[in-house]
């Protein structure tokens, strides 16, 4: 009697064991010599700008980004100026991702008909898995040239007088799905400055971040502190921008408030004249559209 129960129990057990363990064994066998892969962090920011300044993102390889940046006039100019809506500063830009780590771009600004061109290189890329890297690090360099009449016609002007340069180091980390932060030290060189008291080399320290409030909407902020004693002939302030990113398929809309009227690095880093507490705030938006120029090769069936 006891034996029979034991036999039944053994049969039941072994059947259960074999049917359940079979797939587990299979899974284990399948995953046995699985090479760990490098899991790169993607979409630290939704687009190549945090708000008005560069983020560590590049257009993906073979992709062209068309970026329209728009700043209205100051809100405190009142109803007569429709709270700034009658005044606009536009930058039209194109950016291209040559590889996953190298991109370049160019733009034209209505502000003094300034053309700017830049190169952005991704040195480090945040990843986990087979290679662990806590941060993404980009280097950025641009040159801007204004093409309206000379700023200082009474001086001896050379072609180089029109040029300004900006260099940035961007260090960013995506913390989980919703929070990304970036630190951005910047250096701006101006070949010509208004007075001898003004410095040609200007340093700022800034950064920004975003918090996702849904899969497609995030709140972004960006700040750049300008060190004192570098720009003295005009009263300049730290640049602060607060905005929202809205992503719809191939477009990203960035709607923001900022105290910087300028749209390229040299202007918003070193020539932010608005003061938030005075209401010198500009409403602005960026619209970006991604175009695939070179399609990745998908193997045919």
């Amino acid at each position: 009697m006891n034996n029979k129960i034991l036999i039944l129990l053994a049969v039941a057990c072994s059947m259960f064991v074999s049917s359940v363990y079979a797939q587990d064994d299979l899974m284990a066998m399948m995953e046995k010599d699985q090479k760990p892969t490098i899991d790169y962090t993607t979409a630290t920011f939704k687009t190549t700008r945090i708000v008005i300044g560069q983020s560590i993102e590049l257009p993906p390889q073979g992709n062209l980004l068309f970026l329209i940046s728009h700043h209205f006039g100051a809100i405190n100019t009142g109803y007569e100026n429709l709270f700034g809506l009658k005044q606009i500063n536009i930058r039209l830009g194109l950016e291209y991702g040559l590889t996953d780590w190298l991109g370049f771009g160019a733009g034209v600004n209505t502000d003094k008909n300034t053309w700017d061109g830049f190169v952005k290189v991704k040195i480090l890329r945040q990843s986990k898995g087979a290679r662990k890297m806590p941060i993404t690090l980009d280097l950025f360099g641009n040159t801007a040239i204004y093409t309206t009449k000379w700023d200082y016609p009474d001086r001896t002007n050379y072609f180089s007088s029109r040029l300004t340069y900006a260099f940035q180091v961007m260090i960013a980390r995506k913390f989980g799905n919703s929070l990304s932060l970036q630190i951005t030290p910047s250096y701006v060189h101006k070949n010509i400055v208004p007075t001898s008291a003004d410095k040609n080399d200007i340093f700022t320290l800034g950064g920004g971040g975003r918090i996702k409030v849904s899969q497609r909407v995030s709140i972004n902020a960006e700040y750049h502190h300008i060190f004192s004693g570098l720009v003295v002939s005009t009263k300049v302030y730290d640049s602060f921008s607060l905005g929202v990113d809205i992503e719809t398929g191939g477009h990203v809309f960035q709607l923001f408030l900022t105290n910087s009227y300028g749209e390229y690095e040299e202007t918003f880093l070193t020539d932010t004249r608005g003061k938030w507490s005075n209401g010198d705030i500009f409403l602005g938006f960026n619209i970006s559209r991604m175009f695939t120029i070179v399609k990745p090769k998908l193997p045919k069936e």
Partner: protein
């Protein structure tokens, strides 16, 4: 005493079962295809892991979501970031059985119908699925093929209204794997 010998035989048989012939691949192919009025979207994953146990019919799959390649980089980013949330749910897996595995004769080249059922886990949701496919025995390799539809809503993948004309509510999944005999 007799009980112990039967127990021993059963345990032994289970072990034998586990050692029976298995087929495996790490380079299987799964294609996602979404046909909507505005846009046709397809994605290919050529790093599909799969294994089949001929003795039990046990059949498993595992794919990394980030290994799906799209025609547009932005689609791939949105797929991982907004839809399947690859950081939270890095892989999808199927654990199931070929219920009529005895019909597949690996000794003879030919095409055999297969009934497959089991649990598919994707985006953190597990669903029972039951689909038909074929196994083709060809020069010592076993080629498995299946095509079926998945409703994205079943896996709690939300498609917002703004792109509902761009992304279909059901995704056609095509599986094409070539399994090799496993070296045990």
């Amino acid at each position: 005493m007799r009980a112990y010998s039967i127990l021993f035989i059963l345990v032994f048989m289970t072990t034998v079962n586990a050692g029976a012939q298995k087929f495996i691949t790490k380079t299987g192919h799964i294609k996602f295809y979404s046909a909507s009025p505005l846009e046709k979207i397809e994605a290919h994953n050529r790093q599909v892991n799969s294994a089949l146990d001929l003795a039990t019919g046990g059949f498993v799959f595992k794919v990394l979501m980030k290994s799906f390649e799209f025609e547009k980089a932005l689609m791939q980013e949105h797929f991982n970031e907004n839809y399947v949330e690859s950081d939270k749910y890095p892989s999808a897996a199927f654990v199931g059985k070929v219920t009529n595995i005895k019909d597949v004769n690996t000794e003879k080249d030919g095409v055999y119908d297969a009934n497959i059922e089991g649990k598919l886990t994707m985006h953190g949701i597990t669903k029972d699925i039951r689909e038909k496919g074929t196994f083709e025995m060809k020069q010592g390799k076993l080629i498995g093929k299946a095509k079926f539809n998945l409703a994205v809503a079943d896996y709690n993948i939300k498609i917002p209204g703004t792109v509902s004309n761009n992304i279909s509510k059901t995704i056609e999944v095509t599986v094409d794997i070539t399994l090799d005999k496993a070296n045990m």
